[in-house]
């Protein structure tokens, strides 16, 4: 796949991630800015189809743009911390331990760390580590749910894209 095509594909993925990010913004789970991490679908897809670096770019650009379009600075901090931490964990699991994990397992781990990242930032912003403890149980339960859903969705998207002739060709 040449540079331009790759960039176009990534741009498309980012825009989709952005849409998910914004849709999620309409249903604040805990606080404006703290998210379940539906946009992780696109992170995971990029991770599998393009690689770690590309996934990280998707996360960062999505977080920054998403927060600029609808959100605040704190929302962006949550988003970046959650997104990057989750991307690192998912990347590590996918590239090192792929054989032992299903997509759902990886995305659940991603979702959990997505929340840990956000809560760490929230603890820092509010200056109490209490936030981490208070919200960890609730958000971890939620993460198991979203993680499963995100994993499932990514699996179908990846499967679908890999079956497409144009994509295979694109991927080269």
């Amino acid at each position: 796949m040449n540079k331009v095509r790759k960039m176009v594909m990534l741009a498309l993925i980012i825009s989709q991630a952005l849409v998910l990010h914004l849709i999620e913004g309409f249903m604040p789970v805990v606080a404006p800015g703290i998210k379940l991490g539906l946009a992780n679908i696109m992170t995971l897809v990029t991770l599998v189809l393009f690689g770690f670096k590309e996934a990280l770019v998707v996360v960062i650009v999505r977080s920054v743009l998403g927060s600029l379009l609808a959100g605040s600075v704190t929302a962006m901090l949550y988003s970046l911390a959650g997104g990057i931490l989750s991307c690192l964990v998912m990347g590590w699991l996918y590239f090192r331990w792929r054989a032992y994990f299903s997509m759902m397992g990886i995305s659940t781990a991603g979702a959990i760390f997505h929340n840990i990242g956000q809560l760490l930032v929230a603890s820092w912003v509010f200056g109490t580590i209490g936030i981490l403890f208070t919200y960890l149980p609730v958000l971890t339960v939620a993460a198991v749910g979203t993680g499963f859903f995100v994993g499932l969705a990514s699996r179908y998207i990846i499967k679908y894209l890999e079956e497409q002739k144009w994509f295979k060709w694109e991927r080269g």
């Binding site: 770019v57 960062i60 920054v64 605040s72 600075v73 962006m76």
Partner: protein, 348 residues
């Protein structure tokens, strides 16, 4: 790699912008303003919680205190009180409304207390000179000589003319036991007029609490340890939302001669420092002028008579500390006083 750098630069820029914007979003709430000055022969401290106009409000309050001092001080030559004293036995003196009001209030307390509280004690005060450079114990004859002039019934008020007249030459009045309370009330009045809700005024130990603390809890006023030897230390705490707490005691101003302590609160019936078995009294009242006058009165009267008087007065409470470090309280203060010093024993 360049692309990453650009993204990083963008992120940093947005962070900085965000931090800057959050900085100005905060609005200032009520703030604490304090003022300490020396007036009415004592330290005055005012604490208020308000907006930016705080310093102006404090200035107004201070001006009023100075005005009161200029009218009611015995040491200022042309004050109302000095003019009344120098015209004793000669002629009635026209005074300011506030001076008139304070003297009237003082005479009311003289009436209530059967002369235990008496502003005509001034000749005795001068004789002992406890607040002066050279205090001394006068002879019995000297005291008897001056005691002739001590009688509040010889103060003649003319409501219409706002004049005060001392019948006997040689008489004199001293508003020291009541003026501070009046000034504290006046400060509270000015603060209220200016819209201040929460404030704490300390006029030489006369405390006026206004509106509780800004956090909704009552002000916690300490009762001075009468044997702290000049240190600010409390032995008990009284919680007040609105009202005044005033203490009087043998520790405030005194001198010692031949191992005996001579303090500044005189018993008008003997001409000697009051000796009713008390080290100190504290009175809680809605108005500081009442608390001020009554703390002196209770101190001279002693535990039994003093607390009995206080129990008869509506909305006023008192405690008395005896030489054996026992604390007696009026009925209304039972269960409300928090004793913090184990050496002192609360009597029920």
């Amino acid at each position: 790699m360049k692309r990453y750098q650009r993204i990083r630069a963008l992120i940093i820029a947005i962070f900085l912008l965000g931090v800057a914007l959050q900085g100005c979003a905060r609005t200032a709430g009520p703030q604490e303003y304090r003022k300490d000055i020396f007036a009415l022969n004592t330290w005055v401290n005012i604490r208020i919680y308000t907006g930016k106009e705080g310093p102006d409000i404090l200035d107004k309050a201070i001006k009023r205190i100075e005005e009161i001092e200029n009218r009611m001080s015995v040491t200022i030559q042309d004050s109302d009180v000095s003019r009344i004293n120098s015209n004793a036995g000669k002629q009635p003196v026209k005074v300011h409304d506030d001076t008139f009001e304070v003297i009237k209030k003082a005479l009311e307390y003289a009436e209530i207390s059967n002369g235990v509280f008496d502003i005509t004690i001034y000749p005795i005060v001068k004789l002992w000179g406890i607040t002066s450079e050279h205090p001394r114990v006068p002879t019995e004859a000297e005291i008897q000589d001056k005691l002739r002039f001590v009688d509040y019934r010889n103060v003649v008020l003319n409501e219409a003319e706002k004049t005060v007249y001392l019948k006997e030459p040689g008489m004199g009045i001293d508003l020291g036991a009541i003026a501070k309370g009046y000034a504290a009330d006046e400060v509270a009045r000015i603060l209220k007029e200016e819209g201040v809700v929460h404030a704490l005024i300390n006029m030489g130990g006369n405390v006026v609490a206004m509106g509780g603390k800004p956090n909704g809890q009552p002000w916690r006023i300490g009762v001075q340890d009468p044997r702290a030897e000049g240190a600010r230390r409390h032995i008990a705490i009284i919680e007040v939302m609105d009202g005044s707490v005033v203490s009087s005691g043998d520790y405030e101003r005194y001198f010692e001669e031949a191992g005996k302590r001579y303090h500044h609160i005189f018993d008008p019936s003997t001409g000697y420092p009051a000796n009713s078995g008390l080290m100190a009294t504290t009175v809680v009242a809605p108005n500081s002028i009442d608390a001020d006058a009554l703390s002196t009165t209770v101190f001279v009267m002693g535990v039994e008579r003093g607390l009995e008087l206080v129990d008869k007065l509506e909305g006023i409470d008192a405690l008395a500390i005896t030489f054996d470090k026992k604390i007696y309280t009026s009925k209304g203060l039972k269960g409300k006083l928090i004793v913090t010093d184990k050496e002192y024993e609360l009597q029920s």
